[in-house]
Amino acid sequence: MTRLRRRLLCCTCLALALSAVPAGNALVQAKETGPARPTHVVLVVLGGGVRARDMLDAKKMPKLAAMAEAGRVIDEIRAEAANGYEGVARLLTGAAAPVAGPETHPDRPTLMEYVRVGRNLPAEKVWYVSFEGEDQLRLAYSTHPAFGAGVGPAVATGMGAFGEPLKSFLDRLGRPDPQPKEAWTLLRGLRARSRGAVSSYLPEAGVPAGLPRSERMERALLEEINRRSLLVRGPAPRDERAWRAAKTVLQVHRPILTVIRLGEAEQAQKSEAQYERVLWANDAGLGRLRGWIAADRELKDRTLVVVVSELGRDATPNERGGLDQADDSEDHRELALVAFGPGFKAKKGRVKRTRRIEDVCATLGILLGVPTPHAEGEAWTPYLREAD
């Protein structure tokens, strides 16, 4: 190889390397520790329309700001959706064009379906938790013939992971009394005796000897029902119920992918002040989420939390003091994403490059190691750490 050709090759490599680095990404990177890929992902959709500047405002969402500080912020994400439903559908399916309407399931596979198929996971390892009743669950899975209901996620609504199907039963029989700590101890002792009796039989193949019962799960479910989740008050009661259901799901199943869809920010339509109260409540939820993950040995340090909105809101209030979604301003059309946990390159400052909301599906697909063949968005590989 001649010197000239070697030089040309070097220049080409350098140019290619530089082109791969997005604008603004040449800043100093913080030290990256922990695994390069998350084992669990929690995607929180701050649905109902939240402006990027509100998400990143430490006065409005201090806990999210702290997560952003410790993690990664990607802003100037373009959202072209006509409404919130389409925004979430684009986010979850990676579709760049409008998807089937809100009265039916999307026609493209969702990230949850990709993960179940790609990783061959049972339903309880992929969850979709929504702030409202079952009508919101249309976004959980698609009508795509190669995916669909059979590989959809397990779903929980704002009525609770366990509570909604039980609602009529609980309405009639009432809710159980809280179980004091000492009663749990007594129960554990009595059950252990029964376990001894069971193991004196020859256990059937496939039945674990002693039949361990998950007390952790039992307590979480009882707590969910005892919390009287239907009677939640506050600025964002439906979102609060979703947070509680998500807590049960995370504690019980530790899913590989959990999508938590909130939606109370839609109250902004009526009042900007109310909107800010909802943001404050959701911020508290994010803080709790961070705490649950940190307290769980399996999830801690291995879980990526991604927080993103599906559509923004107008730059200025309407005559009623509310915030519409109509002015096509940057506040309306540009979103921010906060990633906290392994997977993204740690870097101070923000990435200044326009991205699209539909890129999220492909990006999380890479982080979770699954192909997303029908997603049209472009994965943000330059921002991701190299897989180990």
């Binding site: 089937a100 049972p122 009508t143 995916f147 059979g150 199907p165 009663a183 009595l190 799960m217």
Partner: protein, 593 residues
Amino acid sequence: MARSTLPRLTLAIALGALIALWADRGAGARPNLPPPPTPDHDFYVANVAPWVEAKCVECHRAGGGALRLTPPRAGLDDAARRKLDFEQIAKFVNPMAPWESRLYLKVLDPGDGGDPHVGGAFVRMDEPEHDTLLDFVSGATPKNLPPEVYLGEDSFRVKPGDEITLDGRDSYDRDREDMENLAFYWTLKAQPPDSIVALSDRRASRLQFKPDTGGSYVVELRVGDGKVWSAPRSIAIEVFDYRKVKQADPGGISGLEKVESERLTQIRRLYLDVLGRPPTPPEAISDDRIGVKRLAETILLRAEAGRAWYEEVTVRFGLIGDFRPASDEARDLPLRIPSAMPSPGEVERVLVLDPSFLRRHPPGRSLAIAIGELLFGRPPTQAELDTALKLAAGESVMRGDVELTSERQWLREITAEEDFERAALARRVERFLPSGDARRAVPKAWIALRERKGAWRRFQIEVLQSPRYRKRKTLRLKDDLTYVRSLFYDLLERKPTERELAALLHAVGQMPGDSAPLAVLAKVMIDSGEVPLPLLVRIKDAPRWLKDRFLRYLGRRPTGGELKAYGEALLHPQGGVELVVQALVTSPEYACR
């Protein structure tokens, strides 16, 4: 020539008459009554359309849900649009069982037994819209409202030799006060295989007949108002030798201590395996007196056994709640099982070919997964996935010599094959035997199925009477359905309704792979105040009470150590009666059968 023809003709007529008589006599005979009326367009336009247009169209014209109403378009006037709406809506009506129509159940308030429905638009049973809707699904016209059968209970039990009287006189005509014009028609829809009893006066308002052998009989009634005949309603009669046992005080000592331990275990096993629930204490005491061997002979013939097997398969296929089977064949299945003793393959085939199966497992990958996992107990093969995807894309697929053009045809082909029949058979045998024994028994069961009628029933009885079954030391996990039913019988002392089962199984299914949700259900029931439990101060003999609870819930007496530990828990300030019961019904042993 004429002389030789006449005897032949006479013989033919006589034979024809005999055949007609025989056909009218047997189980499942269908008289020549017209079918029940179907929904009427004019009635819809006058009475139902305004309600539909006020409550349903916003979602359903926009493509929401399974009911797709035509969106507005140029050139479509009101009359034409209503006709199209009617045609769509009529698909959601089941004339053979209007009260089970999806249209009706979808808008009925869940508190009154309706199905979950996104968007609401519920009607309560005491609202006038409810009656209009029920009239519509029952086939009302502007000039006539159809009659309705009323039989009271849907099942009861008598002893062999008892005469049965069924009373249809509470049936009514929707648009008449007097009942004089009502006509009645009774049919013996199912009877035990060796029964030859026939109904004597089919057109009486009260029917009397005497069963000639033990087993389950199903009698169906239709009523006519001179213009139309109603949809049928049926009643199951179980004819068994049973002993009446005095019911113990609720919450008191049940009397099970008199039953020998091993026999109690065997009775419980038969109930849990065949009926999918534990026996109540009076049933266990009565069956102990009759004998376990006799119980094994007769339990399969009970109407409840058919219902239990049917529910087991529908739950496994996910055909509950909004996906409940809709075909006439599927609806008759629980009744056919104890009388005609169909093979497991036949039972499952009826449900796989029901339209609800394809609704529950839509074309494409979901269907391939259902075929692999539910029908063959394995992941779907690549060929199955390819077939499902091609059929979903509208392409035809060659499967052997057969060109498949639809999913339904594919399901028909699969369920007609020997592999399917064998897989269904293995599942059924495994209900009774540990998997190793079941594997060994399947070839024999296969031969029994291929033998003359009755061999399959004899095979099952042989299994239930075999020492290997009776003395089985292997515990097996209860499936969710059996566990939920057990909680109802043991705690609330009643059977769950279909709606309760669907809702609770849905809830339990939300948390797959663990019995903790079932433990939570138990706690909900215990804390509801509906479980008859004595106050602690009323328990005079605590060890005896504890022994009785062990016998009720676990079918055995407690060990000395258990008695001590449970006794301490009973008296503990944070323990008590409720906690003892909770510990027993949420114990690993209770989770087994």
